[in-house]
Assembly symmetry: C2
Homo-oligomer: 387 residues x 2
């Protein structure tokens, strides 16, 4: 039940010495076809990493047969040298597999500014080792998903079975999680037979309501990539709406797993805004709350501080009457129409799963953001990460 | 050298039992004239507190003779009852001083949702006690500045001498510090003789480049108020540009004091963006960096993680080539034209004062944001604040 659950895919993950821990840090996923149709979405950050620059060029023709991924270094802001490293990674992978370089996506994750000659050598050697170990068994798929982890504590995998086809996915990401995609790499595979344009439409629809709505710490990455490869090996061409729904469901599971493994977090906070004039309004309010450090710190302290929810909502342009808003936490309405309602000590915030419900009373639309609390462990992990 | 340093002002601060600590929590500042010209700016948060609603009405005619302030409760989201409390506070103050209620501004700070009958009683009794103690000596001014503190560790005062007139100011604010004014109350006095419209222009110009550029934790308050009262008692009508410059200088000092006392902070981070196409672009980039929790945690850990600076800059719409940017920290250029430059271990981040300089190479404009790091103490103070 890994990224190679669909027919037509092989994978491998190896330890190439990029990570000082000696853990797996290079992965390769190969689509053996018959189709090579693919789609990908990338970070909306304007400061982007070299592998993203390469991969945007490679995906332009809608055809990808392999992905080479590394953890342990983002190869971002490493100059022309770093871009050449990404190109060489694609070329080496392509050469070993009998492909063209532009059939290969490249993904990197880790510290920005890291990507010197030593790094390049290890990545290229890692790609060779990984290609030599490619397999279509469970262990090969697991090794690949291990190879892309950074501060993640668990592998993140999901599989869905459609009507005559399968979708598989693997993800990494534990920090710098914010919209326009989180700090994450996601590889999704399917043996459905769909064209690149169809995959692109399905992937954009799915990520817009899943990965784009994980906002763990408000920080947008330079390296985010979500790639979808379709082998067509099942011989099934599904209805596109049905495929999109199943893909969205799989992306939602991976999104939840990213939230649950967010660096240092002690609460998974689901912030849902209802009664909004538009879905954009609902998402804007939920996102503003998810980015309030004061709110996030209060949840860490099991403090149902609804005033911080309203103070954050009030920074948005969403349509609502600030004195008509209700706020509930874990099922207890602590603020009704802008005044204190149920006593805050009725709210139990000790469970990890925390639900904040905001009713704007301005319409029928709703939107949810998945976030986390602000904890001592978050501060610790992110003050010590690169030192 | 307090808020009553200019001629024509009296002040007092008393302990009215609103704070559980027994510290001073009510202050009154009176302008005895001859002029009662005034101006004020308020939070741009749409969710605003009852005293802000009252004060916006009171200042509408440009004339204010007294300010009643309390700490220990924000009287925000306390419903119609809370609005009446603010009105009664103005009425009681006015009655005792022989003024009209609309000559009195009301300011509150503390926990949102706090403002019941007990709170109202203490505020009104506090106002009576404070009016009885009004004085124009140093101690009276200090007592007033103590009366508005919440989690602040020090009083924040500043005085400037102009050509024949004086400006004095007091401020409070230690958290929820972000643009559109920080979580702060600021009272500025002057014995210059200027009209309300002139004061308003000077105050808006001064706050736009001072308080509005303190962004300690990205959280915008519901209660922020900066009021400027002019007694005209010096008999001097200064040149408006000179007055604005002096007022801006005083506001800059108070802004720096807010930054230096930010909750739980261990670094004061001055983030300056130069080489921008416009000042708005420069401020947008500096502000984006100031709101990156990953960047702020890195500074706490004395880690010159310039990748997080670029990742934050890349989320803005500012005009620049992402691969032309230089980043310096404490005088060491760690990134030049988007590539690693000086070794990061040359950067010494142990001093509290930290300077981040970003050169966009896109123009001549610049802009600075004053921020703080993200620390264990910040998380601790803000997870335990209301419990």
């Amino acid at each position: 039940m890994t990224v190679i659950a669909p027919k037509g895919f092989r994978a491998a993950g190896v330890a190439a010495g990029i990570k000082s821990t000696g853990k797996r840090d290079v992965a390769v996923v190969v689509n053996d076809g018959p189709s090579a149709a693919a789609a990908a979405v990338f970070t909306s950050n304007r400061c982007i990493a070299n592998p993203v620059i390469w991969s945007k060029e490679a995906i332009a023709d809608g055809s990808i047969s392999a992905i080479a991924l590394n953890s342990g270094g983002a190869n971002c802001y490493t100059g022309e040298f770093g871009y050449v490293t990404s190109r060489l990674t694609a070329e080496r992978t392509a050469e070993l597999l009998g492909l063209a370089a532009t059939d290969v996506l490249v993904c990197s994750t880790g510290l920005i500014g890291h990507g010197d000659e030593v790094f390049r050598g290890k990545v290229l050697a890692g790609v060779e080792a990984a290609v030599a170990e490619l397999g279509d068994d469970e262990a090969s798929g697991r090794n690949a998903s291990e190879g892309i982890l950074t501060t993640d504590s668990v592998e993140k995998l999901a599989v869905r079975e459609g009507d005559g086809y399968v979708i598989g996915g693997m993800a990494k990401g534990a920090g710098m999680l914010a919209p326009g995609l989180a700090t994450m790499l996601v590889v999704i595979t399917t043996d459905a037979d769909l064209e690149s344009a169809q995959l692109d439409a399905a992937l954009r629809a799915a990520t817009a309501v899943t990965f784009d709505r994980v906002d763990s710490d408000g920080c947008m990455s330079t390296n985010d990539t979500v790639a979808l490869l379709a082998s067509g090996a099942s011989g099934t061409t599904p209805d596109l709406d049905a495929f999109t729904a199943l893909l969205t469901d799989l992306c939602a599971e991976l999104s939840k797993k990213l939230q649950q493994d967010a660096e240092g977090s002690s609460h998974d906070i689901t912030i849902t805004t209802v009664g909004a004039a538009t879905e954009d309004d609902a998402v804007a309010v939920s996102r503003a709350v998810s980015r309030s450090n004061l709110f996030k710190a209060a949840i860490f302290g099991n403090d149902p501080n609804w005033g911080r929810v309203l103070a954050a909502a009030g920074t948005t342009d969403a349509e609502f009457d600030p004195f008509a808003v209700d706020v509930s936490m874990n099922g207890v309405m602590v603020c009704k129409a802008g005044t204190p309602h149920a006593p805050v000590d009725e709210v139990d915030l000790t469970p990890r799963e925390t639900v904040v419900l905001i009713d704007l009373h301005a319409g029928e639309a709703s939107g949810t953001i998945l976030s986390n609390d602000l904890t001592h462990d978050y501060v610790h992990e992110n003050s010590a990460y690169s030192s």
